[in-house]
């Protein structure tokens, strides 16, 4: 079985570092970017099995990034990381109305839980 490939875009270095370790331990191929612009420029469409975007990004919102990605890749699964409850709520009711709630992972999250959620999303 091919290893699943996951892309994480989050401006917090610590988080991406830890996530990368967690995911790689579970045998996922993980790319991480802290800068959304760079992430976008280096994005490989249809390559990843899952893209995880943090909603709170510098310069560009997670949703914006998502839209940009969707322009060049309309098949890859995308899920979102949120830390702020408010943000979460807001987005849930506005931009992400039609989205499956399971696509939103709230930080902080235990490693186990994170993995489970990721697997679930990818299985859908």
């Amino acid at each position: 079985m091919t290893r699943k490939k996951i892309l994480i875009v989050d401006d917090e270095y610590d988080i991406t570092f830890v996530f990368k370790i967690i995911l790689e331990e579970k045998d996922f191929v993980t790319d991480v970017y802290n800068d959304p612009v760079v992430a976008l420029s280096k994005y490989k469409p249809y390559y990843y099995d899952l893209v995880m975007i943090d909603l709170k990004l510098p310069g560009i919102t997670g949703f914006e990034l998502y839209k940009q990605l969707r322009r060049i890749d309309n098949k890859t699964k995308v899920c979102f990381l949120t830390s702020s409850e408010q943000f979460h709520q807001q987005y849930r009711t506005n931009e992400f109305q039609d989205f499956d709630p399971d696509l939103f992972i709230q930080k902080p999250v235990e490693n186990e839980v994170l993995i489970n959620k990721i697997i679930k999303i990818m299985e859908k």
Binding site: E12, D14, I15, F17, V18, F19, I21, I22, E25, S83, S84, E85, Q86, Q89, P101, K107, P108, V109, E110, N111, E112, V113, L114
Partner: protein, 1014 residues
């Protein structure tokens, strides 16, 4: 040149004598023509001669001469009168000549008699029509429609008709048939027959036979009915109307004396009765009385004629009686004339003119009599109206003059008035004479008499002396004395009877008098000065702000009141004095009212002297007065207006009434600052925005009051000097007038400043409250932000620690890692709890409901805990009694369960602890409804819950454990109750530990999906 004839001609006595003579003659003539007096050729001629001489000769001369004199001015003015007069004179003269001719030369073909008859009747009719018109126009023109006038009008009309009818029927219907003198018993004579005759086919009325032949006056059968019919309707009609008019006139005259006695009524009614009875049977059969027995005919005729004569005399008498009552001699004369005319006309009309000698002569007197009647009435009418005019002008004159001559003295005034009025009257008289041609008969004596009566009506006493002396008298004679007057009146009293006041006060001390009480109005130092003079004597004096316009003084016996008026630039005092109890009581009660509402004069004086006299509190009962005062105060405000409105509507009403506009205008010219407190409302926000847009929101500040702090009174304080407190009566009304109740106005420092400080403290309070809310909000936001920020670093810690744990080698490392992990989790929990609390308290606990199985989240939680805690520590048991699906906030319910488990875990024993979770469906009563619920119970075998804490268990920050900040159960309660459920805790009855349970409604309808408010 003195005309020797003029005197007797002008003498009314002579006229009366002649009149009576004429009447007598005519009566005899009547009786003879109506078969009541027999006559023969000789007596007939005698009567003829008498009639000519007395009626047409002397009588006409005297009466016409009188009329001539009387009507001089009238004739000069009126063309018609002139014409009438001379026509009558000429015709009468002509008739005289003709009659004399007839006497000596006979009456061939009866032409002469018939012409006389025709002419006199026609002219008489014309004259009667003139007077009829006059009567009708008088009736129409009069303000108070006098029925007497109307009836006279009708009487005149019917009389005119009668004269005309009589002449026309007799001249046109009666045929004269001549017979040859072949009859045997040829008598020179004539007689009235009234017998039907077949030979001549009609009724033979009259037969005259002489040597030349016989003339028969016949009414043809064909005309007979019509003839009788006309005679029967018109003549009696006239009689009846004249009777009515005359009796009404008589009644009017005697009205002043009293009702007429019955005897008089009988006398008056008798002629009418006789007339009607006499006429009745033969009503339509005319003179023949065909339907009656021969024997009785005579008597009926008698009755009828007596009635006629008596009636006519009565009619004339009516005028005579009225004339006697009148003062004016001239009018008397005219009425006598009219009376004579009235009598004569009736009687002569009844005389049958078919008799060619005396009959015609008597009948033709209708001309003279109608003329006298007309002239008499017309002249008297004019005269009376002139006199009325004069009376009116005297009256007006008197009033006019008395106004101008105040202060000279009453006697002087009376003299002056008389003089002036006489002058006016003379002028008027001259004018009237010029206008109507008749000289007014008002003499100077009449004027004086009338003037006095007018003056009495006005009740003028202008003399100040009178007023003073009257007051003095009342005072001297009193036991109680009350006085209500302005200080000017007091000064008058002081100047004139101060000693008496002193006397009375001494008497009071000795108990002989009840004392003097005075009510007055004190406004300045002059007033104080005079009031003090009375106060020194020990008299009680009180001050009222508004004195009545009447100054009055009263003892228990008598009172005096003076009314001051300014008229025509002069000050007039009218005096009323009476000892009528009703008046005294009335004024006493007015005094008492003033007394009770008055304030002691000493206090008032004190106030004035210390300058605090203007202060007070007033109750304003008229809403419009309030608006006026408020606007006035706003317009004159200079520094500051503060106010509090009871309701938003009050503000709306005030804005609508223009107060805000006035304030804005005021802002432009002064340093005015305005602060307003209003309860929250859309309009207020709008207004605030408007003010901001206009850039004046720093000068008109509006602060909002909590709705719970609304009052029912609006208060405004202007410049810290004036206050208005307005009660709200009905907030639903749209205008101030309808919405407000009582208003109190004050300019008293203590009141105004109290209100000011109340509003000031409310103002500060509003500010503080706003600040407080702001701080709270900021505070909450800070916590929120902080909590969020807290979560971010937790993630890497948790994550890294987990990784490390897996790679830990030594036990020590494992333990250290465990420590870090645990604490990181605690931090996470803490952050979440804080965030939850802020959510709850910030009213933003939104539930995102979905359908899920309870068991799922329970198992999730169990797994979670099992993954993170060493299994040896405790055991989880899941007891699913019912499998239940629920429509709820999944993460919320999960939180609750997690919190409860957490809570239990804190009290578990170190080993052998277990937590058992039970899920079952129940029916519970919630809010008066039985609903389906799912109950989740979490039981532990820990140390149980302290009884101290049990009641406070689900509140914030209550914990006996060493861990956590005590928010968990509070949050759980909030979430459960937001679903419409309930949460509770109890210690286990069996064994150790406690059970925490909650229920959540299963039916959607029971759940309130609204924002939770604690």
């Amino acid at each position: 040149m003195i005309n020797p004839l003029r005197e007797p001609l002008g003498n009314s006595k002579l006229s009366i004598v002649m009149g009576i003579s004429i009447i007598v003659i005519v009566i005899i003539d009547l009786l003879m023509t109506r078969q009541l007096l027999d006559y023969n050729h000789i007596t007939g001629n005698i009567m003829f001669i008498l009639t000519i001489v007395i009626c047409y000769g002397i009588g006409s001369v005297v009466l016409l001469g009188f009329a001539h004199k009387v009507s001089r001015e009238l004739r000069n003015k009126s063309h018609l009168s002139h014409l009438m007069h001379w026509t009558v004179i000429m015709v009468q003269f002509g008739m005289l000549i003709t009659l004399i001719f007839m006497l000596f030369f006979g009456n061939p073909g009866y032409i002469l008699s018939r012409s006389i008859f025709a002419i006199s009747s026609l002219l008489a009719t014309a004259i009667m029509i003139v007077i009829t018109f006059k009567f009708f126009s008088w009736y129409r023109a009069s303000k108070y429609k006098n029925p007497i006038v109307l009836f006279y009008a009708l009487a005149a009309l019917t009389l005119a008709c009668s004269i005309f009818e009589d002449a026309s029927t007799k001249l046109l219907m009666v045929q004269i048939i001549y017979e040859e003198p072949a009859l045997d018993n040829q008598i020179t004579g004539s007689s009235f027959q009234y017998k039907g005759s077949d030979k001549y086919d009609g009724q033979v009325v009259f037969v005259e036979s002489n040597t030349d032949g016989t003339a028969l006056f016949v009414i043809p059968q064909t005309y007979l009915d019509l003839y009788n019919y006309l005679n029967s309707i018109i003549l009696p009609g006239g009689f009846v109307f004249r009777w009515i008019a005359s009796s009404m006139l008589l009644r009017n005259v005697y009205k002043k004396i009293g009702t007429l006695p019955i005897s008089l009524w009988i006398i008056i009614s008798l002629p009418l009765v006789l007339y009607l009875i006499g006429k009745m049977p033969g009503f339509f059969s005319g003179e023949s009385l065909a339907g009656i027995d021969e024997a009785y005919r005579y008597y009926f005729r008698v009755l009828f004629r007596v009635g006629t004569i008596a009636g006519n005399i009565l009619f004339g008498l009516a005028f005579f009686v009225v004339a006697k009552k009148l003062k004016s001699s001239k009018v008397r004369d005219y009425l006598v004339l009219a009376g004579l005319g009235d009598t004569i006309v009736g009687i002569s009309l009844s005389t049958s003119a078919i008799e060619p000698t005396f009959g015609v002569a008597a009948h033709s007197l209708v001309l003279l009599s109608t003329y006298l009647f007309t002239l008499g009435l017309y002249s008297s009418a004019i005269r009376v109206s002139q006199e009325m005019k004069l009376r009116q002008s005297i009256r007006d004159s008197a009033i006019e003059e008395s106004k101008l001559l105040v202060g000279i003295g009453s006697a002087q005034i009376a003299q002056e008035i008389e003089k002036k009025v006489f002058a006016v009257v003379e002028k008027e008289k001259a004018e009237l004479t010029r206008d109507t041609g008749l000289q007014p008969t008002f003499t100077d004596l009449d004027t004086k008499e009338y003037l006095n009566s007018v003056l009495k009506e006005i009740k003028i006493i202008h003399n100040i002396e009178d007023i003073i002396s009257k007051s003095r008298d009342i005072l001297l004679d009193s036991r109680d004395f009350i006085l209500c007057t302005r200080p000017s009146g007091l000064r008058l009293a002081y100047n004139n009877y101060f000693e008496i006041c002193q006397q009375i006060c001494r008497a009071k001390k000795m108990g002989a008098h009840n004392g003097i009480k005075i009510v007055t109005s004190i406004t300045d130092s002059n007033d104080i000065e005079i009031v003090n003079k009375f106060l020194v004597l020990g008299i009680s004096i009180r001050h009222v702000k508004n004195l009545p316009p009447i100054s009055f003084a009263a003892s228990e016996k008598e009172m005096i009141a003076t009314i001051q008026k300014t008229e025509g630039g002069q000050l007039i005092q009218n005096l009323l004095t009476t000892n009528e109890t009703a008046y005294i009581e009335h004024f006493s009660s007015i005094f008492n009212e003033l007394w009770t509402n008055g304030i002691d004069s000493r206090n008032r004086i004190n106030d004035i002297e210390t300058g605090t006299d203007n202060e007070g509190i007033e109750i304003i009962q008229n809403p419009e007065t309030f608006e006026r005062i408020l606007h006035g105060l706003i317009i004159s405000s200079k520094e500051e207006i503060v106010g509090i409105f009871s309701t938003p509507n009050a503000f709306r009403r005030s804005k609508f009434a223009g107060s805000l506009k006035l304030i804005r205008e005021r802002l432009e010219t002064t340093n005015l600052n305005v602060r307003i407190l209003v309860p929250e409302d859309e309009l207020i926000y709008q207004t605030i925005n408007e003010l901001e847009d206009q850039g004046i929101s720093n000068r008109i500040k509006i602060r909002l009051i909590e709705p719970s702090m609304q009052t029912k009174v609006s208060i405004v304080v202007i410049d810290k000097k004036y206050s208005l407190a307005v009660e709200l009566k009905d907030d639903s009304k749209n205008t101030i007038s309808e919405a407000i109740g009582l208003v109190t106005y004050s300019n008293s420092k203590s009141t105004v400043l109290s209100y000011y400080s109340i509003i000031e403290s409310l103002w500060k309070q509003a500010e503080l409250y706003k600040q407080l809310q702001l701080h709270e909000r900021m505070h909450k936001e800070f916590i929120n932000t902080a909590a969020h920020e807290l979560r971010t670093p937790i993630q890497p810690i948790l994550g890294a620690v987990d990784i490390l744990r897996n790679n830990a080698s030594s036990i020590r490392e494992k333990e250290l890692i465990e420590i870090v992990s645990r604490n990181a989790r605690r931090l996470k929990k803490l952050a979440e709890d804080i965030l939850d609390v802020t959510k709850i308290e910030g009213y933003t606990l939104n539930l995102n409901k979905e359908i899920f199985r309870i068991r799922d989240i329970i198992l999730d939680n169990i797994h979670n805990y099992e993954a993170n805690f060493e299994k040896s520590k405790m055991e989880f048991k899941f007891n699913e009694v019912d499998e239940v699906q629920i429509f709820a906030d999944k993460s919320g319910v999960s939180r609750v369960i997690s919190n409860l488990i957490n809570n239990s875990m804190k009290f578990l024993p170190s080993t052998g602890g277990f937590i058992s979770i039970t899920v079952k469906q129940t029916k519970t009563a919630m809010d008066n409804k039985i609903g389906n619920m799912v109950q989740v119970s979490i039981t532990d075998n820990g140390s149980g819950i302290d009884n101290e804490i049990l009641p406070k268990l689900f509140t914030k920050f209550v914990t006996k454990s060493f861990h956590g900040i005590g928010l968990g159960l509070f949050i759980s309660k909030s979430i459960v109750e937001a679903h419409g459920g309930k949460i509770w805790a109890e210690n286990n009855r069996v064994g150790q530990g406690a059970t925490l349970s909650f229920v959540l409604p299963l039916d959607n309808t029971d759940q309130n999906n609204k924002t939770y408010t604690p």
